[in-house]
């Protein structure tokens, strides 16, 4: 989320959705390292016994690298993993800091906060969050962190599903499909979508005016609302997301 909001244009967000699967390809290769570790038989090697005892299967990749690579490359590979821990930790702590500052501190405690005060609070919160994470690891068993991370995913998904406000009997199955995808949409097709695209941007500038426009559209074309399969529900959802 933070990464997406920090990009410079709509276009670059879209392009990223297209080029990010490159990472998934790399991930497939990374996953294969697990099989390589099995084939290399690292688990049976006495020099890695202590590592496997301390970290379980998580030690498979480091053991494989230690066995297969010369020392200088082990340094590079391990640095890649360690730096790979720093980057997300930094991004996530910043995301937490932004959330706290904007939606808790400014909203409930200090609505008149100046930009500088906002920023100072965010910086401090980013430190606190990292301390908290450190406490997790040093103070609690690792398994807790994994379980809580999984729970975290579940919590986030809960907030993602926003219900259609109409009573259930007034919704069609395609409405509910779009609903389940977590997007709230307007009834009505808005003249084949062209308006749908523009009005999002207009809405951002003149919310009141365009809300009226949208509301008018809702009544103007009820025949576009109901019926239709998943595809149409999805299309409609796309056209009419983001603003209400």
């Amino acid at each position: 989320m933070t990464g997406l909001l920090s990009s410079s244009s709509k276009r670059s967000v879209q392009r990223n959705a297209v080029i990010l699967p490159a990472y998934s390809f790399a991930l497939g290769l990374i996953a294969l390292l697990g099989f390589m570790a099995v084939a290399a038989g690292v688990k049976a090697m006495p020099e890695f016994a202590a590592g496997f005892k301390a970290f379980g299967n998580n030690f498979a990749v480091p053991a494989l690298f230690l066995k297969s690579f010369p020392a200088w490359f082990v340094g590079i590979a391990f640095a890649a993993i360690a730096i790979g821990a720093l980057v997300p930790a930094a991004i996530m702590s910043i995301a937490c800091a932004n959330l706290f500052t904007r939606n808790i501190y400014k909203e409930f405690f200090h609505p008149a906060a100046s930009p500088k005060q906002e920023c100072d609070i965010a910086k401090i919160v980013s430190l606190v969050v990292k301390l908290g994470a450190l406490f997790f690891i040093i103070g609690l068993p690792t398994q807790y962190a994994i379980q809580l991370q999984l729970l975290g995913g579940i919590w986030i998904i809960q907030t993602f599903a926003i219900r259609d406000p109409r009573p259930l009997h007034a919704q069609t199955s395609s409405d509910r499909t779009a609903d389940r995808m977590g997007v709230r949409y307007r009834r009505g097709n808005l003249d084949g979508g062209a308006v749908g695209v523009q009005d999002i941007d207009l809405c951002a500038e003149h919310p009141g005016h365009n809300r009226a426009l949208l509301r008018g559209a809702e009544f103007a074309s009820p025949q576009h609302c109901y019926g239709g399969g998943v595809e149409r529900a999805f299309q409609r959802a796309l056209k009419n997301t983001a603003y209400r």
Binding site: Q14, V18, M36, V74, A77, F78, L86, P88, E118, Y243
Partner: protein
């Protein structure tokens, strides 16, 4: 585990390099760092490529690098779940996020909860989203430390330092996190964005080397796959459900087959 001086030297050198980069990042695409959108969103000035590195850095982490192969190592092919799991997000991202970005840009939203606040006009809903986000992210940060712990131990660096007779557990982790905290505080989102480029370069080099060098040492991919227990190529976790269904299906297929034979014999 014994400490290898060459590996440790290169590891530490890269770590120091990245730290310097983290502090220098404050000057990159310079902005007024006393504003939240400058500190916390890099001034919304990252182009396609930097965003790609940043998102990649956020999605593919140390824990991924360690835990996904670990799952393949222990549980077998089930570990591949991670690949489709990551791909699921992209179509949604393509469809919905450009809009979200446009609205956030026009209205100066910094967080997802800001958007919820503006759209649904509810402070409490925004609060709920913010709290969920914070509580759910914390353990994920902690998990990154697990990945780091494993490689530090793999290098043979002792985890407990004794300074002046007082033993400090997990000292390398503490040092790494204090350094991280310092440059995040100083440079905001610019620091991880810049470091993410280095991290991914290293990561891709490592993966590329690994998928070429290791199979060559082990005698090729065919040999690697041959050494895997065939049972672990199935999705063992789901076995119970699938097996029952399969058995029922198999039985019905067999029944029909028997039936045919029976008719033919008769």
């Amino acid at each position: 585990m014994t400490m290898n001086p060459i590996a440790v030297t290169i590891f530490v050198a890269l770590f120091v390099f990245v730290t310097v980069l983290g502090f220098v990042a404050a000057r990159w695409r310079r902005g007024d760092l006393t504003h939240l959108h400058e500190w916390g969103l890099g001034g919304r000035r990252f182009g396609t490529l930097v965003t790609w590195f940043l998102l990649g850095g956020d999605l593919y982490t140390a824990y991924t690098f360690v835990a996904v192969p670990a799952l393949m190592f222990g549980a077998g092919a089930a570990g591949f779940f991670a690949v489709p799991y990551t791909i699921l997000v992209y179509p949604l991202m393509f469809a919905v996020f450009p809009r979200l970005w446009a609205v956030a840009h026009a209205k100066g939203y910094v967080t997802a909860a800001d958007f919820v606040r503006g759209r649904f006009d509810s402070r409490m809903l925004a609060l709920a989203i913010a709290v969920t986000g914070i509580v759910a992210t914390m353990p994920y940060i902690a998990l990154q430390l697990v990945g780091m712990e494993v490689v530090i131990a793999g290098l043979g660096i002792p985890m407990t330092f004794t300074i002046g007779g007082i033993a400090i557990p997990d000292a390398p982790l503490l040092i790494a996190f204090v350094v991280l905290a310092a440059y995040t505080y100083n440079s905001g989102l610019r620091a991880p964005a810049m470091i993410a480029v280095v991290k991914d370069a290293l990561l891709y080099i490592t993966v590329l080397a690994a998928v070429i060098v290791i199979p060559a040492e082990l005698g090729g991919y065919a040999k690697i796959f041959a050494s895997i227990d065939p049972k672990s190529l199935c999705w063992r976790w789901a076995n119970r459900g699938i097996l029952v269904r399969n058995r029922r299906m198999r039985r019905s297929v067999l029944d029909r087959h028997w039936h045919c034979c029976f008719i033919r014999i008769r």
